[in-house]
Subunit: 340 residues, 2 copies
DNA sequence: TCAAAAATTTAAAACGGTTTGGGACATTTG
DNA sequence: CAAATGTCCCAAACCGTTTTAAATTTTTGA
């Protein structure tokens, strides 16, 4: 049903009906109520594409999905969707070809120019992130999930990676560990750098020399966790503790330790960062996994809020949110063995 | 830049330009080429919302995302996106509140009526799936990922769950196992039923009585894998083998076996279904995990193809695809212990 | 009571494209 | 060489809303 017909049935003009439905003040309360009721009864809904054309708004926000196994992606999306479902705003997912970095910038460019989205969410930024510069230049509103050092104003939501890893590392030092390995995220991402810094600062604060042979970078996969852990554990003296970038990494570390006959929580301590997944929980691992913890789903939900605020005019400079991270100690951390 | 201005710069009428860009035959090859080149050079792109309004097409397909930990969701999406990125079609994600089943049907209804999408993909259907009936009634094209017994024509893409589990179970029987436990997916989903059937048929074919105390249903989480496996292993006699619905379930089973001092691959065999994740691979587990295997990402990509075919008029009845499933044997399966 | 002000409602002009129905020109046919 | 056939191109109508500017009705104030 079109607005025209609907209005006719009500004996009103299209204008009045449109205004009544959009909550303009120029329409009397009585009329508004009648229109709302009849719309519900007759099932009238404005044609979304006509609305989009005339308002110039897309009614959607864009998210670019990396190809390489991002298992936290669906949690973030879940949070986003949860919050955006209430508004009448869609989530538009674009795929990215990780293998072709030039493609990425084109992708963002297309997304921004195409008019399909009103805003974009940028993930896993780098300190000098081209995408941020591009979106700023194009005037497309965007929220960065993470942070960047780039000299371009950008709204962001991030967790305190540096503080989290500093605390985790400090805790391991407090327990008596001196050789602490770290398996971090992909080289070059801001969050990896922040975690590196937290780790180094914690060591430095206690006068423990930084050993580059104890730090590795890579995707958050079980396999890399295993391979790095394995190669670290083969060093002599071997590390007595690990700081892991993700739950999957931790799985790999557990596996590596076991494969070498080492008992987690006694001979090797592990703290991982946990994004909180319904299907894999740190508490249930054996031994239960000590973790720095921050809900990815909550971040998604909050990101939706912030994007909506940006769109309704809140200035970019105001939208910066840094979330603290919990440190939850469980069985996987303990003092190092005496003859470590 | 608008069509008007762009056409003017070319010294052509908007009509001709529009036709040239849309590949109509009434335009000479020479003109078409010139228009295409200039469009690229000047960066002209038709306003997507105007196109949508006038053509009545949404240029997007919808996917409903369940709330409960669906870690395979992002793999499916990845495949979908990969294929749809080439076309000019968006993916629209809607969230679903799992706790409110009435909400689900409303959600699909809204999605269908809203005109935001040209087609919908339905996940994890049930034998008598209300959503399928609804979409059919509303005349919204849709593809079911999975199958349903409902008496409504529907296009679907599914893997041979029944055959996969039948083979997996048969293999365990061949190895000598007699008490085989199965930890399946959520009760009521068609794929769970198919797997149940495959399991029972395999037992029956070898004259092994079906014991309901060896079968459990639930979400694919590490935790449920652990809890069910644990309770099964506490039975006497205990099962000597497990068929697991997912990688996460398998993780839980490994954990349960270990927690009871049982060695996987010697005292307990495990076969799981593997949707193929970049971050957690069956091959890397210790011991490496035997698995029925089918790429979720490939299913997503193919689903995109099939939806496009539906939209371009291929009849629903023709679009049925059943994929065979590989069975890959690794270290987690072996004959049962002699005194089992 | 009546003009002015305020509150409602409406007609018409966008929004930026696609597509229908011709018209102009070039090419073939009888 | 006129008529018939193709090939390109164009003007105008239309998609279904929102919004501006104007018209109408109601309320207010002297």
């Amino acid at each position: 049903m079109k607005l025209r017909e609907f209005a006719q049935q009500l004996g009103l003009s299209p204008t009045t009906v449109s205004r009544a439905l959009s909550g303009y003040p120029e329409v009397s309360e009585k009329t508004r109520k009648r229109v709302a009721e009849e719309a519900a009864r007759l099932g009238y809904r404005p044609n979304i594409n006509a609305v989009r054309l005339v308002t110039g708004r897309a009614g959607a926000i864009g998210v670019v999905m990396g190809r390489s196994g991002e298992f936290h992606f669906s949690e973030f999306m879940g949070g986003l969707a949860e919050r955006l479902g209430a508004e009448d705003i869609d989530i538009l997912v674009s795929p990215m070809d990780d293998k072709n970095p030039t493609g990425e910038i084109q992708l963002y460019s297309r997304l921004a120019v195409s008019g399909r989205v009103d805003a974009v969410i940028v993930h896993s930024p780098e300190p000098n992130d081209e995408r941020i510069a591009l979106l700023h230049k194009l005037g497309m509103p965007f929220l960065v999930h993470g942070r960047s050092d780039i000299d371009v104003p950008h709204a962001w939501l991030d967790i305190d990676n540096e503080g989290a890893i500093r605390r985790a590392t400090s805790h391991l030092i407090d327990l008596g560990h001196r050789r602490i390995a770290m398996i971090n995220g992909r080289q070059g991402r801001t969050f990896s750098l922040h975690r590196d810094k937290g780790y180094r600062d914690a060591l430095e604060a206690r006068g423990i020399p930084f050993d580059p042979r104890l730090v590795a970078h890579g995707n958050f996969t079980d396999e890399l966790g295993f391979r790095f852990a394995r190669s670290f554990l083969e060093q002599t003296p071997r590390p007595t503790a690990f700081v892991a970038g993700s739950m999957m990494t931790a799985l790999g570390i557990y596996r590596a330790a076991r494969s070498m006959g080492l008992e987690i929580g006694r001979e090797v301590s592990v703290i991982a960062h946990d994004d909180v997944f319904p299907y894999l929980t740190a508490e249930n691992m054996v031994p239960s996994l000590s973790a720095t913890r921050s809900s990815m789903r909550a971040a998604g939900a909050r990101s939706a809020d912030l994007v909506l605020q940006l769109l309704s005019g809140r200035p970019t400079e105001e939208v910066h949110e840094l979330w603290p991270v919990e440190l939850i100690l469980r069985e996987s951390t303990a003092p190092p063995p005496q003859n470590g």
